[in-house]
């Protein structure tokens, strides 16, 4: 099959082609998703209203989108930084869970002076997230064991540990529900009085800016680029390859941990079973959309956050499950991956079977 079609890898992809395939993939993805929602019983005009008007142009909707963007920026950066050194971090949720556990632990056991409590919580969250990616990182760097399945399985273990805590030692004594006790006021980060918007989005944006400077201006950023292009060559030229991979992957874990810490300290004020919701896949999609660029991550995260806002109202009005947002993300990613083919290869019809 396909002998008559010959593919030539493009040496140099023109920007216009790249943009056109990206836009085309996105359009196909959005079109297919809209079609599916329409089949599921959402009328067309409601779709436009929910997806664009409510999400970005109404005060409530925008507030929800901005709040939702903060953890998405962090997990997007997490995925992007690991991807830069070709490490597949599919365990973002696991690192997020440990970040949330660590932050909640600081609050529940009243560790440290109250003034420093929020700072300690976020610091502990970063450390816990970095620690949780430590095992797959070590196995990958030292024994070159594939990290893909490993990171994912560790997520399941982390989530089971959360449940172990919530149905056991950390069950809220006031209500008996499987949620941790609420953080005290000193352990809560400030909100601005506009919906749920608070310090978490400020922190996420600051982190994105900082990481952009790191990856664009620092030596580590240049090393990372070399490792990402070709680790073997980088090693041969004497660059500290292992150190670079270690730094970026630990940073990736810390970022996901921070997302969990912020959920506890800035939005939910407690550990619940619902903090982790599909952040792994969203992070990977955002990192991919942004081509691992930190500032691109911010833009992509806002778009995905908007989708989540729309999703939550579709859920209420048309009894669709959370799975719909995941489905749309999946379709869009798949369309973009397929469309990339036309940017990577030049398709030509061969006169005869040339290459055989």
């Amino acid at each position: 099959m396909f002998e008559r079609i010959s593919l030539v890898r493009r040496q140099d992809v023109p920007l216009a082609t790249r943009l056109a395939t990206f836009a085309g993939g996105l359009a196909v993805g959005i079109g297919l998703s809209a079609l599916l929602l329409w089949f599921a019983g959402v009328p067309g005009d409601a779709l436009v209203d929910e997806l664009f008007v409510q999400v970005f142009l109404s005060s409530d909707g925008l507030a929800q989108t901005v709040t939702g963007a903060a953890p998405l920026i962090l997990v997007g950066l997490s995925s992007a930084f690991a991807t830069r050194v070709r490490f597949w971090n599919i365990g973002i949720e696991g690192q997020l869970w440990w970040g949330a556990i660590a932050a909640a632990a600081i609050g529940i056991y009243d560790i440290g002076p109250p003034v420093l409590r929020p700072v300690l919580m976020l610091l502990a969250a970063c450390l816990a997230g970095a620690a949780w990616i430590g095992l797959p990182l070590w196995l990958k760097v030292r024994y070159s064991i594939s990290e893909t399945v490993l990171t994912l399985l560790l997520t399941n273990i982390a989530f089971l540990f959360v449940q172990h805590l919530l149905f056991g030692a950390w069950k809220d004594p006031a209500t008996g529900f499987p949620v941790s006790p609420q953080m005290q006021p000193a352990e809560q980060l400030a909100k601005f009085g506009w919906g749920n918007v608070g310090l978490s989005i400020v922190i996420a944006l600051a982190v994105a800016l900082l990481l952009w400077l790191l990856i664009d201006r620092s030596r580590l950023g240049i090393y990372a680029r070399a490792v990402g292009l070709n680790a073997t060559t980088a090693k041969a030229t004497g660059l500290p390859v292992t150190m670079t991979i270690t730094m970026l992957v630990l940073l990736s874990g810390a970022l996901s941990g921070l997302a969990g810490g912020l959920a506890v300290a800035a939005t939910e004020y407690r550990l619940t079973q619902f903090l982790g919701g599909n952040y792994t896949f969203s992070g990977i999609v955002i990192g991919f959309l942004a081509r691992t660029h930190p500032l691109g991550v911010v833009v992509a995260a806002f778009c995905v956050a908007g989708m989540f806002t729309a999703g939550s109202s579709l859920k209420v009005f048309y009894s669709l499950s959370d799975a719909v947002v995941v489905l749309i993300e999946g379709i869009i990613l798949m369309s973009l991956l397929a469309a990339q083919f036309f940017a990577t290869y030049k398709v030509a019809l061969a006169r005869r079977s040339v290459a055989a």
């Binding site: 499950s321 719909v324 947002v325 489905l327 397929a338």
Partner: protein, 308 residues
């Protein structure tokens, strides 16, 4: 104690079979060089579709066949993306997981928590009544026996036939296979479809046979465990039987323990299969065995024009 052991071992196959079937399918796909990370999503659509068709038709077998079809349908999308359009296999696999989870949630929303008729167990006259071995070996559902047969057939097909040799050649050295006249892309597409059918069947087993009900997220990581088991089985279907039984045993332990009234930390016990999989992934590398079993070209798209 014997009673506990017997009931535990007798319930093990129910947990082992879905992992075994999925694992065998994934081995076929990986032997042809395609890393199919979409197993979790393929199992999800299989499970949902099987329940939907069983409820509508009243026949569990019709549902099971529909589950297989659903797995193949979604894997065709994945296969076209990675084999024909050379999309990144890891990202496309993750997208398949998302689409499988999403589709099953969207289409199956009206079928949640509805009980379906399952399959009757096969009782071998005389043998089933034997003490100890009777309930363990001779009182299982038909798909359990089928799964073992499937694994052995896949082993024979891959390792002992000309077709299997060609399929493995595609995964090891597609350029050489191409020169030898093997249609690399058709072989890979076929292998992906086979893995989709297997994952769909595994999902259908979970919903229609094992639990006789469908809920969202019921696959619960078993697809990923099956992917891990491929490495434990060293890409050999007959070893997948052993691996799946070990994991099924670990999975079956908790409900059996709870049934005896033992006070166990449930959520920590539920970590066991995942922890085992991680161990299984790490140990061979730590002790430097099993290297070289992995297909050489796993995860890389083949482009004839790139050939050296």
């Amino acid at each position: 104690m014997t009673e506990f052991l017997v009931s535990w071992l007798a319930s093990t196959p129910t947990f082992a079979i879905p992992i075994m079937i999925a694992c065998v399918g994934l081995i076929v796909s990986e032997r042809a060089g395609v890393l199919n990370l979409g197993a979790e999503g393929l199992m999800a659509v299989g499970a949902m579709m099987a329940v939907m068709v069983t409820l509508r038709s009243g026949h569990p077998w019709a549902g099971i066949i529909a589950g297989v079809g659903a797995g193949m349908g979604l894997s065709l999308l994945f296969g076209l993306a990675v084999v024909v359009l050379r999309a990144d296999q890891i990202l496309a696999g993750l997208a398949t997981v998302a689409m499988g989870a999403g589709l099953s949630g969207l289409i199956g929303r009206d079928y949640v928590h509805e009980t379906v008729p399952g399959l009757d167990k096969i009782t071998v006259p005389g043998l089933s009544d034997l003490p100890v071995v009777g309930p363990i070996l001779f009182n299982q559902d038909p798909l359990a026996y089928f799964a073992v047969g499937l694994a052995l057939a896949a082993w024979w097909l891959l390792m002992r036939t000309r077709f299997g040799l060609r399929l493995r050649a595609v995964g090891e050295d597609p350029a050489a296979a191409d020169v030898a006249g093997v249609d690399v892309q058709m072989m890979q597409l076929g292998a992906v479809l086979a893995s989709g059918a297997a994952c769909g069947l595994a999902g259908a087993y979970l919903s229609v046979v094992a639990s006789q009900v469908w809920v969202e997220n019921m696959v619960a990581g078993r697809g990923w465990i099956a992917i891990g088991l491929v490495i434990f089985a060293r890409w050999n279907p007959s070893r997948a039987i052993l691996g799946a039984l070990v994991f099924g045993g670990a999975d079956a332990l908790l409900p059996r323990l709870l049934a005896t009234g033992a006070d166990v930390p449930s959520y920590l016990m539920m970590m066991l299969p995942y922890a085992l999989t991680i161990l299984v992934l790490a140990l061979p590398a730590l002790f430097k065995v099993g290297r070289g079993a992995e297909p050489e070209n796993l995860g890389k798209p083949y482009l004839r024009q790139d050939r050296r």
